[in-house]
């Protein structure tokens, strides 16, 4: 009769082991773990062009995906303004949006972005693996993604998820 406990435990452990394993695989994708940044080119809101090579000018920069139709972006905007005051470079990616509305938004609420990509069709977002807005990437040395956060970026998220990576 000793075989049943053994079989049951074996079954439970293998089932849960598989699920855990898959979760760890998934979390690797969410956080990229020093993934190389996919190279991209795009126009800026002001009409100039921008390539991802220009990110190399900063040892540390944030890519922030935003849009005027996105409520979460409105939520995190005031915190982005604060981060900008602290001297952090934030590159905006205006995602699937309207140019006029975007300019109005920046006039009204302030502009924390040093550059602002105009990703009208979501191509840059697609390359980066963006699934919605807001999303924020932390880029080191202009070519590696050390953090990909989906959702609102506020003080708490910054202190828990971003700040530890910056101090390293």
């Amino acid at each position: 009769m000793k075989i049943y406990p053994l079989l049951t435990i074996l079954f439970v452990i293998s089932l849960f082991g598989l699920l855990f394993f898959q979760l760890f695989l998934n979390s690797g994708i969410e956080e990229f773990d020093q993934k190389k940044l996919a190279p991209f080119e795009s126009n800026l809101l002001n009409g100039d062009s921008f390539t991802s090579k220009e990110l190399k000018n900063n040892s540390l920069s944030l890519l922030n995906v935003w849009a005027t139709w996105c409520v979460g972006c409105r939520l995190e905007h005031s915190y982005l303004m604060e981060l900008e005051k602290k001297g952090i470079t934030i590159i905006g990616i205006n995602y699937k949006d309207d140019k006029e509305k975007a300019f109005k938004w920046l006039d009204q609420f302030g502009d924390p972005y040093s550059e602002n990509l105009f990703d009208e069709k979501g191509e840059v977002g697609f390359l980066l693996g963006v699934s919605g807005a807001p999303e924020t990437f932390l880029i080191k040395n202009g070519d590696s993604v050390v953090m990909h956060h989906m959702g609102v970026l506020d003080e708490q998220v910054w202190n828990n998820k971003f700040a530890p990576l910056i101090d390293k």
Binding site: P5, F16, L25, D154
Partner: protein, 618 residues
Amino acid sequence: MIPELGNFLLIFSMINSLLLISIALVFPPKDKRFFLSASLVTFLAIFLSFIALEISFLTDDFSVLYVATNSNPNLPIYYKFAALWGGHEGSLLLFLLILAGWILVFVFFHRDHKHSSAFMNIVLFALLAFTVFLSNPFERLLPISSISGSDLNPLLQDFAFTIHPPMLYMGYAGLVIPFGIAMNFLLNQEKVKQLAPIRSWSVVSWSFLTLGISLGSWWAYYELGWGGWWFWDPVENSALVPWLLCTALIHSSIATNARQIFINWTIALTILSLAGSLLGMFLVRSGIITSVHSFALDPDRGIFLLLICFVIVILGFSLFFLKSDSRGLKTDMGIYSKEFMFFINNAFLVTLSAIVLLGTIYPIIYEIFSGGDQITVGAPYFNMVTVPFALILLFFQAIGPLTKWGGNKIDNLNSIGMIILSSTALSYLVSNIFFSFSLYEFVGNAIVLMLVQSLTLLVFKSFNSKRKINLSMIAGHLGLAILTFGITISSLNSVEKEFVLQKNESVSVGSSTITLENTQIVQEDNYYGDRVTFSFQEEDRVLKLYPERRFYPASRMETTEAGIYPSIYKDVYISLGQKIGENAWAAKVQIKPLVRFIWLGAIIMFLALFVRTNIKFK
């Protein structure tokens, strides 16, 4: 201030629940009122915390992150109220409230149980800790900014969808109670009588699961615009698995109560069905599978949820293997006995749930072993594998109630023979006359007829012999028969056609004609879109249908509103496809006979909860 109070109360209830567990296991109190008062305090704390979050919703307090992302000042007051459980954190709070409520009710009625409530509180505590530390709905948005809030997904702004989660959670949470009873039984080596409440509680849980699942299916039918009522979607499956296991548990515990058999099996099933319900919760909330219903979440939370599930299963099975003895491991039942019928019932139900679970997590397994290849398991797999099993199970469902405990010859041989003969003959006629004959049609109808006849016979016999009759069982079985009838007829006899129509053009579908009469633009407060008027002419009856395509600017969502003409005999269902030209549309019409029987059957099954009488087989 109120959100902080809510958060405090949640933490308080967590500590309280932990205290109850440790006191119950370390210094079991003599005074049985201890558990009652402790459970009452936990419940009240969670209830007030729920009210606190409700207040934040109703007063549009957008400084709370969860409120800001799930509500909007323009939402009607009812949807503001229901928006609380529209997202992950809030729905978890609702689940906790229901679980604490069930525990309180249990403790009130069963004060003689030493440790049952302690084991239930282990589950409650784990989920409370998960809520407080990893999914806190009271989290403030920092720094506080004034904004107008987000919007509830328009697909979810719907009455059925707002009551679907609470009903489902009543069922899920209810499965914690049998688990607690079984664990207490093992720990204290109680008499078998102590397991008796499992039966009533599994019926409670089962009824609410039935209602919750069927509400979800009804919602999918009229809201998603595709005319299907079951998609074998991972989220649907993760509710179906606990439902199947819970059905098995009801039957197994009936056998345990009546004959003191299947004791270990009943205990194992309480662990399995709780595991099924927690695993379902994990699948929906971890983002490991994607689906319309699932909440997107980061994997850290998923790991914690999976850990909770793992610990509870391991705890359950360790206690099971350490403490259970072979009482009730009697296999000397005759093939013609009621015992054997219950065995068949359980074997099939557990197999079915394993099949559904396997199909649901197979893509995950495959991805790991193939090194990242992606696959999906289609609905045909589920239909192909589950339908034959279900049909055999239903066949035994018709015979089972006519057998006797400990019987060693075929009782009621004549009646069973008559039922089988008359049903097959009648089904053969019905299938030929009213429908185009096919094997599934014939078998499906025959089984439905058998079920109805066998139930009628039972009722008739009990009238004659003045024996007590178990109305709950009659309602449950009859509901399933009606549901099976609805599924058989509607899925085998539906007519559907896709077409393109210009204005004033017609197309014929079967014996009826569909005409595109008019197209117009609709503009409402929160959406705009196209509405197309179709007329559906059948003999001399003309119906009008108004399918729409809507766009909700606030959340940038497009939805399809099907035009449905409902009736008990058949539904006419038109959904719009692509706009082809100025006044031309692609559309799909479906004529679904008896599709309403599916939900009618489910409602009757739910009513099984309210028509309980004492079971007396003798």
